[in-house]
């Protein structure tokens, strides 16, 4: 089995790794780097629990990404979003609005929502529909998830204007 030496840049940290050529980015993030916030679900691109952000902030499906194709390319996982005690507004809103039940889809949903809001801070409902089509939740029925995202949008907009006034 051939292995290749690659450098993964995850949440700003560089990791030099020897990975099998057929390892997915998801497998390496979870099994080698022990960053287990990103989840295994369908492993075929249909559920979104494996979602991370690429260097441009786009939502990407790590289950369908080869680790060797990510040599030198930055990726952001859920571990790179907020910190305990200093949560990202999306994380805080998900907790406050009951948008977390079993929690399995939560990292993928937050990465998906973050990818949307990072480039489009004022999305329409249709924009949110489109962005979230690729990330499913079996517990919440998505209603509280949408409330949380709406609240996070307002929070982020408020923070923006606070910064301007400061």
């Amino acid at each position: 089995m051939s292995k290749q030496l690659i450098t993964l840049i995850v949440n700003g940290d560089s990791y030099e790794l020897a990975v099998p050529v057929h390892a997915t980015l998801l497998e390496v993030i979870r099994d080698e780097l022990r960053l287990t916030g990103t989840k295994r679900g369908c492993t075929s691109g249909s559920c979104g629990v494996c979602t991370c952000q690429d260097g441009a902030g786009n939502a990407v499906l790590t289950c369908l990404s080869l680790a060797v194709e990510w040599d030198g390319r930055p990726v952001t996982t859920i571990e790179g979003v907020g910190r305990p005690g200093d949560l990202h507004p999306l994380q805080r809103a998900f907790l406050e609005f009951g948008a977390v039940q079993c929690g399995y889809c939560t990292p993928g949903l937050i990465m998906t929502a973050k990818a949307l809001l990072d480039t489009n801070p004022e999305p329409t409902e249709a924009d949110i529909d489109e962005a979230l089509a690729g990330a499913i939740c079996r517990c919440t029925g998505h209603i509280k998830v949408r409330h949380a995202i709406r609240h996070a949008i307002e929070r982020l907009a408020g923070e923006g204007s606070d910064a301007e006034q400061a």
Partner: protein, 324 residues
């Protein structure tokens, strides 16, 4: 599900890429976004010995406006990148809508237009894991000699479910297929074959490098009907384009996900030219689509439903164009 082992190449020129594909034409596959290929590899449906990555080949993802005002689209351009291109929304609405109908935003951030144009056909039997497929004998696509969709058939009836193919055909697109011995340009209308296994005219070792969409000036639209609004293959799609306002000079109607190739509705299109986008003309075109479709199988939906769906899609698409 896990990927099987394979060799991975990352050529940094098109020449090297073509050499690597030609070195093992039956078992080397190009890798672009991988959102369909990797799934099929995990299912054991396809087992390429070598994946030749397009990531480092320069220029394959570029989108440029040509001197004649057309679009030259690099095959490795992501679907998201293409959908957001300023030229697409106003001038080629059918293409933009088709792109945004593919999968989900997540998928489109990685998937490429070339990958979607070349998308392998799909069937309830083949697109399952190899363990699942053991419930039946292998079929034409899985190294057997029967079709589980049409028992008496001599060929594979898997469906072409590419969303962008009908739109690009309706917009008179051409693809460039590159090989070691040179490149050739193929009108997309001639690119597909009515077969679930050999579903395009691409030869072993050939790679689609770009798609040219001429300026045209056609009004166009695209409609996808599916159970879900995202992450679903179509029950049926239609792309329609007409040129001319008072008098329709040219019309193209292409239906996807109904058969093994995108079906070009020639009779229906001729009726649109003859009778215009009148109520009677639209109705006549919708009726004529049945004859254009020919034989329709029961794959994923009953044939009667598919025929009625196509009639409705023709009506809806032409009515939209009439109002535009």
């Amino acid at each position: 599900m896990q990927l099987p082992p394979f060799e991975h190449r990352q050529p940094d020129t098109l020449e090297a890429c073509l050499e690597q594909l030609a070195a093992d034409p039956e078992a080397a596959a190009p890798l672009a976004g991988g959102t369909d290929l990797l799934v099929n590899m995990k299912l054991g449906l396809t087992r390429p010995r070598t994946l030749v990555s397009l990531r480092r080949v320069p220029g394959l993802a570029d989108v440029t406006v040509t001197d004649s005002g057309g679009l030259r689209i690099g095959a490795a351009c992501t679907l998201t990148g293409l959908a957001e291109h300023p030229e697409i929304a106003d001038r080629f609405p059918a293409l933009q809508r088709a792109i945004r109908a593919v999968g989900s935003r997540h998928v489109r951030n990685m998937a490429t237009i070339g990958g979607n144009v070349c998308l392998p056909t799909r069937c309830w039997y083949t697109n399952q894991s190899d363990q699942w497929r053991e419930c039946r004998l292998p079929c034409f696509k899985t190294e057997g000699d029967v079709c589980h969709v049409l028992k008496s058939s001599e060929r594979c009836h898997a469906l072409n479910s590419s969303d962008t193919a009908p739109a690009l055909i309706a917009l008179n697109a051409r693809v460039t297929a590159a090989a070691l011995d040179g490149a050739r340009e193929i009108p997309l209308a001639d690119f597909y074959a009515n077969d679930g296994v050999d579903h395009t005219v691409l030869r072993p070792g050939e790679l689609v490098t770009c798609i040219d969409v001429p300026a045209g000036g056609a009004r166009s639209t695209f409609i996808k009907v599916a159970q879900r609004t995202g992450l679903d293959y179509a029950a049926g799609t239609i792309a329609a384009a007409v040129e001319g306002k008072r008098k329709i000079k040219a019309a193209r109607l292409v239906v996807g996900a109904i058969g093994s190739w995108p079906a070009q509705l020639h009779h229906a299109a001729r009726i649109v030219c003859d009778q215009g986008l009148t109520e009677a003309g639209i109705e006549a075109a919708a009726e004529a689509a049945r004859a254009d479709l020919g034989e329709v199988n029961n794959l994923f939906s009953p044939s009667g439903y598919k025929r009625r769906l196509v009639r409705a899609l023709v009506r809806r698409a032409l009515t939209e164009l009439k109002r535009s």
